[in-house]
Amino acid sequence: MVVVGADTTESIKTIEFAKAFPDRLFQLGIAEPNMISVAAGLAAAGKIPFAATYSVFGSAHTYNVIRQNVAYTNLNVKIFCSHAGLTVGPDGATHQINEDIALMRGIPRMTVLVPADGPETAKCVDAAGAMKGPVYCRFSRTNVPTVTAAGDGFTIGMARVLRDGFDVTLIGCGIMVARCLEAAATLEKERISARVINLSTVKPLDLATIDRAARETGGIVTAEEHTVVHGIGAAVASAIAANHPVPIAMVGVQDVFGESGEAEELLHKYGLTAEKIVEGAHDVLKRRDR
């Protein structure tokens, strides 16, 4: 295992890896396309490179390099990006990428992971390192409540049901999983039983778990810290449309850029809250029972 970095090793903590293995971290400067291709070359010679930086640079700025040098080549490169989504906060829209899931899930051969919390991020590192082929994993800078346990199983390609329910299903990824659980608790008080699914693998999609949710609960709300254009909402919608169509509501960034602000302020302003998920559930139930 080796790590390549792009002048962000301190803020995303890969510097800790360099402290343990000084010869195995390559600091390549503010040159992300080069960083990705160098990782590909290392992988071609048998290394397992983790390329890590901020999501906006590790996905959008390097898109065609990832496409040609990592995915088309099917090389064993693991792209782990922090600072995804609105919760980057005060840095503003230039740094708040809400489109990276859309970009990465469109690339053939790419595995796309969005862990819900710290323990799951660690499992993503292990699982990505253990599998062969390209991986893109994105997570947020902000603190998030821990919703998974260290002992929980984790398998790439498998969504986990965190809470069972029968009236509606809330499918979230990343920081929105905690908000789905919060929304489910609110719905329970209204005697609405909500299933909560942690969709930490966006690609390959766990079609069986999604299909079962559609059949058993009859309505779905998705929640993501990402644009609703080609994000997990779109992925789930196409899956259920092909198998068992049910009403769906998508909580996420509504095809707009973000702005400066504190993480919580931004989530509130852009509608990425438990309240919006509850509203989504009401909307889905209304449409289903019409």
Binding site: G41, L42, A44, A45, T73
Partner: protein, 281 residues
């Protein structure tokens, strides 16, 4: 300097003509592809594949092989021709170039074509990829070397210079870059599209060991490679002055043949010229 025999040079010259004939036939058969830049890089590729590279056609993924990376992916006809002549796959397969279900894609694909080491097509990624290879070779204390062929049009690409900085930062002396300086890119002369000169000085400023040679003179190509092998602590950039379309009179220095195949009549003329050259050996 190691003695380079007349016999070796004659053999390489002859092989290069064979490769050029393949390039003309392949691109004619496909009625597409990039003959001009394949012909300009032909002598460099010939010298590498038929004298320098430690590769094993019967075991293309031998871990200790030297790595050849073609950054200017559009010139893959010369790569495929060299690989076929070197025995990586049958020569007959060359005629499937750019056809449906072929292992010989319009631009190189890793994992499909025996002997191909990288995917290229979008310009400017190959040198970075080579930096990764050279870092891995050093980490594992291996002797294998990395040779990367870049186009001069690729000198426009920012990533080429990102890679140049990284290679010199890490002092990658097992990395040799050839810049196929044919002076022509898709839409015209490089100096009109985006002036590159002074090019050698640019590479020197990036702290590379820089050599400028005639990219069609085998003695100079081999001497440059030998000097690169002797150079410690720095990667070597060989600026190879070449002629686009080299070897066929009516194609030489013509912008058109960057990305255009020969017509039926031109094919006959081109092959006649190359065969006359072959007969003279």
């Amino acid at each position: 300097m190691v003695e380079v025999s007349e016999q070796l040079i004659a053999g390489l010259k002859k092989k290069a003509v064979t490769l050029r004939k393949h390039i003309i036939r392949m691109t004619h058969n496909a009625q597409s592809g990039h003959p001009g830049g394949s012909m300009s890089a032909c002598d460099i590729v010939t010298a590498l594949y038929f004298h320098v590279l430690r590769v094993d056609p019967s075991n293309p993924t031998w871990p200790d092989r030297d790595r050849f990376v073609l950054s200017k992916g559009h010139a893959c006809p010369v790569w495929y021709a060299a690989l076929a002549e070197r025995g990586f796959f049958p020569v007959e397969e060359l005629m499937t170039f750019r056809k449906l279900n072929s292992r010989l894609q319009g631009h190189p694909e890793l994992g499909t074509t025996p002997g191909v080491e990288n995917a290229a097509g979008a310009e400017g990624q190959g040198l970075s990829f080579s930096v990764g290879l050279a870092l891995a070779s050093r980490m594992d204390h291996k002797a294998w070397r990395t040779y990367c062929v870049l186009g001069d049009g690729e000198q426009d690409v920012g990533q080429t210079w990102e890679a140049a900085m990284a290679a010199s930062k890490y002092g990658l002396d097992s990395l040799t870059a050839f810049i196929d300086r044919n002076g022509i890119q898709q839409e015209g002369r490089t100096e009109d599209i985006m002036p590159l000169e002074p090019l050698a000085e640019k590479w020197e400023a990036f702290n590379w060991h820089v050599l400028t040679i005639d990219g069609h003179d085998f003695r100079q190509i081999l001497a440059a490679i030998e000097e690169a092998h002797r150079t410690r602590g720095r990667p070597t950039a060989v600026i190879a002055r070449t002629v686009k379309g080299k070897g066929v009179s009516f194609m030489e220095n013509k912008i058109k043949y960057h990305g255009a195949a020969t017509s039926d009549d031109e094919l006959k003329l081109a092959l006649a010229e190359l065969e006359a050259m072959e007969a003279a050996f």
